[in-house]
Structures are given as C-alpha cells and as structure tokens.
C-alpha cells in the first residue's frame, strides 16, 4: 500500500510541475508551427507571472490577475511579432531580448512597487486559484487503486491545471481540424503558397504569436497564482527552455508535447523526491544529473538518435513578399 501511496504522490507532483511546462510548450507550438521561432517563452512566462501576481495582490482577485498576466504576455509576444514579422528581424535575437527585458524589469518594478526584494506580497486565498475537488473524491478515497487515483491524482488541482490538459485536445483540434489551423501550419511550411492564396502571412503569424502570448500568460499565472502564492524573482528558472526542449522532443505535435512535458515533469518530481537517496539497481544518482537529464535527452534527440526532429520548414525565416 505504501508503494501505491508513494507512486501517487510522485505522479501528483509530476502533474503539478508539468503544468507550466505544458502551457508554455503549447504556446511555443502555435508560434513555431506558424514559422516564428520563439526562445522568449521563458521571458513571457516570467512577465506573465509577475504581472499576474502584482495585479492579484492589488485587486485581491485571481481572475483580474489572470487577465493582466495574459495581457502583459500578449504584449511581449506582440513585441516579438513586431520585430520578427513586421521588421523581419532575427527571431532568435528578438527572443533573447524578450527574455532579458522580462528578467530585469520584473525585479526592478517588483522592488519599486512592493519593496520586498523583488517579491510581490503574499496572496490571500481569493487572489489564488484554489484546489478544485471533483465530486465524490472524498467518498472514493478509501477504494483501493481506482479511488486513490481519482481522489489523489485527478481531483484537487487548480482550475488552470485542468485548463492546461484540456488545451492539449483543443490545440490538436484547432491545428488539424480547423481552417485557421491548416493555414497556420501552411504558413510555417510554405508562406509563399499561403500568400498566393490571397491570405495575409503577417496577420496569420500575428494571430499565432497572440495565441503564444495567451498561453504563456496562463503558464505564468499558474506559477504565481496557483502553484505559489505570489511572484518570486526569477521564478520560472529555465522552465521556458525546458518547454522548448519538450516542444522539440514532441516534434511540434500537441499530444506528444503533453507526454514530453509529463516526462520532464516526472524527472523533476523524482529528483526532488530522491534528493540523493539511492535508487534500486542503479545506485546513487547525483541530483545534478537528474536536473540535466531533460537537456541531455533533447540534445540526443536533436542529434537524431531517437527519431528525427524536423522543425517547420519556414521556421526562423522572415517572409519577404516577392517584388
């Protein structure tokens, strides 16, 4: 029994740490499928988390926090779009810039507005997204396995967690079953063809980066308003890059993206859980190795040893209309 409890515990924390990865990963999916590389996921998440926490603290409302987080994230995404779509700048350079601007300004503004060393004030319960208990979770708690899974794993998460996992089939539907999705994928593969069909490449790509902004805003909100009770400086701590790694790992597809995020989340949860205690068979694994594993796996994948990750063909290339 204890084994099941431990397992459910680890899986539960896997879900918790996977959510921001998943939201950021899906965010990157929209942008990159439309041919706009985005290494600024990290920065947009961080800015969203800060804006969400600041607004939620001032207005004592999680919903206002969420709204502001999304607005700020979309604003940053539009800067990226302005640089890389309208002015045909280097998308990587623009993404790096977004990350730095977010990293610096969240600390400076946080310190100036709240005077708590870059933190935002601790949020009251109404400023956060609390746990949602699914119906019957308490009643089923004692039923072995199924009841435990239901009450311990599926129930008791915040609204944003459910939103994140529902966003996976939704994204799949949008990308592969709607006209917008078809065009979005086309503009990432062959923008000239889309242009020939009389559809604006720039407007399509702008809509894609706005989707990215919305989802990174949700990712930031989750971190500041659900997982924690406020903003701490540099709280995303490289998750935007892990999400990027997951996106490549998933070969730019929504359902594999979820599994990649769960895998990376599981590694994270496991390394927190183990903290240097020995594993059966393998023996003691250094924490640092566990932490580096997502990055190492991504490099191995990129090297083409676990299938081949082929990015959207027009990714990273600004579109210049024939003249």
């Amino acid at each position: 029994m204890e084994f099941v409890d431990t397992l459910i515990n680890i899986l539960n924390s896997t879900i918790r740490v996977s959510v921001p990865l998943l939201l950021a990963c899906l965010a990157g999916l929209y942008s990159e499928r439309a041919g706009v590389f985005d290494i600024g996921l990290e920065g947009k998440m961080l800015a969203g988390a800060f804006a969400g926490a600041a607004a939620a603290a001032v207005f004592a409302s999680a919903w206002i926090g969420l709204l502001v987080a999304v607005l700020v994230s979309v604003g940053m995404a539009l800067i990226h779009g302005f640089a890389s779509i309208t002015h045909r700048g280097n998308q990587i350079v623009s993404g790096v810039a977004i990350n730095f601007i977010a990293a610096g300004s969240t600390i400076i503004l946080g310190q100036a507005w709240f005077q708590q060393g870059g933190r935002t004030p601790s949020l009251p319960p109404e400023g956060r997204f609390g746990a949602i208990h699914l119906p019957g979770a308490d009643a089923l708690r004692d039923v072995p396995i199924i009841g435990q899974l239901y009450s311990g794993l599926l129930s008791g998460h915040s609204l944003l967690t459910y939103v994140a996992f529902l966003a996976v089939p939704f994204t799949w539907w949008v990308l592969f079953r709607t006209r917008f999705g078809l065009r979005l994928r086309a503009v990432g593969e062959n923008p000239a063809a889309v242009d020939t069909a009389g559809i604006s490449v720039a407007w399509l790509r702008y809509r894609a980066v706005i989707c990215t902004g919305i989802l990174t805003g949700l990712a930031g909100s989750y971190m500041a308003l659900a997982q924690n009770a406020g903003f701490v400086k540099d709280m995303t701590a490289g998750r935007g890059y892990i999400a990027l790694a997951a996106l490549i790992f998933a070969k730019w597809k929504p359902v594999p993206a979820m599994f990649a995020c769960l895998l990376f989340g599981f590694l994270d949860a496991l390394s927190i859980r183990l903290q240097g205690s020995p594993l059966p068979v393998i023996g003691k694994v250094p924490v640092q190795l566990m932490q580096a594993l997502p990055y190492i796996l991504t490099v191995i994948l990129l090297a083409g040893f676990i299938g081949k990750a082929i990015p959207p063909r027009a990714g990273g290339v600004p579109y210049v209309k024939e003249r």
Binding site: G89, I101, G104, A112, P286, Q288, P311
Partner: protein, 379 residues
Amino acid sequence: MSTPYAKLPAWADYGLIPLINLLVAFAVAGLVVLLVGENPLRAAVILVEGAFGSGQGIAYTLYYATNFIFTGLAVAVAFHCGLFNIGGEGQAYIAGLGIAIVVLAFDSTLPWWVVFPMAIIASALFGALWALIPAYLQAKRGSHIVITTIMFNFIAASVMVYMLVNVLKPAGSMAPQTRQFLEGGQLPKLGWLLAEFGLKVRPSAPLNISFLLALAMAFLVWVLIWRTKLGYEIRTYGFSSKAARYAGISETRIIIVTMLISGALAGMMALNPIMGDQHNVPLDFAGGAGFVGIAVALMGRSHPVGIVPAAILFGMLYQGGAELAFEMPNISRDMIVIIQGLVILFAGALENMFRPTIQGIFASFSPRSVGIAAKGERA
C-alpha cells in the same frame, strides 16, 4: 531573392543607424527609470561618474569590460559564419574547470608567467570542447545550434555544480568552491598602469593582465576574419552557404572550426574573474557575461573595433550600476539586464526599424547616395 533594403552610405550604415538604435534603447531604459520614480538624467550622471569618475571606478569598468570583450568576440566570430552561439555562458563556465585543473596542479611550484600560458590553453581548450558537440551536431546532423548551445549551458551548470560540490571542494569546507589559489595562480594587477596617468587606484582593484590578453585577442580576431584565408571562408559561408559550397569550402570544417574558435574565446573569459580577481573557482562566476556578449557583438556590429568600445560601455553599466544601486535604492543592478535586453532588441532584432525612414531622408537630400539615379527612373 531581392534584398529588402536599398543601400546607404557606409558611414550611415555603420555609424548613424547603430547610434540611433542605441539611443532609442537608452531612451526606453530611461522610461523604465521614470516608471520606478527616479530621474533618468540624474541616474545617467551617477552611472557615468561611478564608472569613470575615479581611478578605482575605471579599474572596475575595464575589469568588467575584459569579460565582455572575450564573450563579445566569441559571439561575433560565430555571427560571421552565420551561426548564433548562445552558449558562451556555458563555454566560459566549463573553461573554469580547465583553469582549476592547471592552477591547482602547478600554483605551488611554478610562477604565474608559466602557469598563465598553460591556463590560457586549458581555458581555450575546455571552452572549445564545450562548443565542439553542438558544432558537430549542427554540421553533421543539422541540429539547430541555438537550441543545442542553450541546452549545453544548462548541462554546463549542472556539471560545474557537481564538480565544485563533490570533487573540487576541499575537505572540510562548506562553500562550493575550490581552494584559494597560491601565488602561481594569481595574475598581476594593472592598477599601476592607471596610476601612471595620475589616477588613484587601490591595490584591491581587480583590473588585471587578462585585459591585455583580451585586447590582443580582439586584434587577432580582426586579423583572422579580415586578413586570412580561413576568415574569408568563414565570411563567405556566413554570407551565403550555397556560394561557399559552390566554391568548394567544406561546410563541416568551417562550422566546426568557427565554433571551436568561438568557444575558445568564450572560455578565455574565465581567466579574468578566476585568476585575476577571485583566486578560486566559485559557483556561477560567469554571471551572465556570456549573454552580455550577444549584446556587445550586436552593438559592435561584430567588428573588434566596435566590440571593444561596446564592451567598455557594458563595463561602465556594470560598474556604474553598482554605484547607482547605492544612490537610488529602487534601481538595482538588474537595471543592466533590462538595458542589455533593450540593446539586443533595438540593435539586433529591430536594427532595420529606422532604416526606411533614414533612407527616405537620404533620398530626399541626395538621391545618388542611396543608389537612385534620378526621379522616376526606379519604379
């Protein structure tokens, strides 16, 4: 494919446009200062005074600039080949390991002028090796070098934490760092050089001989890129990989060699804080210098003549920013991170934002300067 922008005179291309971009970046940074409730002009005065107002300030400014010259050159060399080496941070961090091995082995027996060349080679070697795998994967397997170098930054951080905590930390010590270097592992300071000009510099000022190494490297990079066959090949490949292939330049060789040079330059950055100032290898000594290199290279237009002043400008921001934090408690050193981001945005990603306007102005004054022969000739 048609080039989207018409030509401008060289001085406008290399002087005016970068200057305008830079001014806009600083103007936006000024807005942030305003938002925080401080006076941006007073902040600028404190910043410049803190950086250049005293011998001590100048010594610190140049000390920081040393780091940024190395990393800026590293990014620039890769830029010339059309590669974006975002992994300077990790390459510099890992190079600390190479330096640690050399110095810990020899600092008790050999003088600094014997240890220093060995440490230079070790740092360059470790930095280059850390760039080798991403370079190989880019050249042979087509894995995007930006992603692999980012991943290698994180892997480097994990490796260094492991090495410092479990291997290099002396027994009985709590701090995750190597033991203090002896005389053989300490580089001579350059404070006396500033004292020659009548400036007061305390012996604690960290400016050291690796500043001269950085300047020498800037010169060597200029020679490499503009005066050697290899440099010509690098630029050719960066300009058009198709043309390079057609000319018989080996793609694999040029990518790998360029990244090795880039990694070596980034690696040498580690000499400055480790042997020049701290005299041990602490955690996170690179402190973001690898990323500042991106801003420096973009601002300096990937030319050593631009990179050295750009590095000094960022050195000024670092040193002056520290002074500013005393005077204006609302502005911490993180202000520099914003400025860095804004410079990357305006001098890098948005470098062409003002170009059409400037071209319009030039065209209205003298059509010939932008390649328009007469009115109406160009449709």
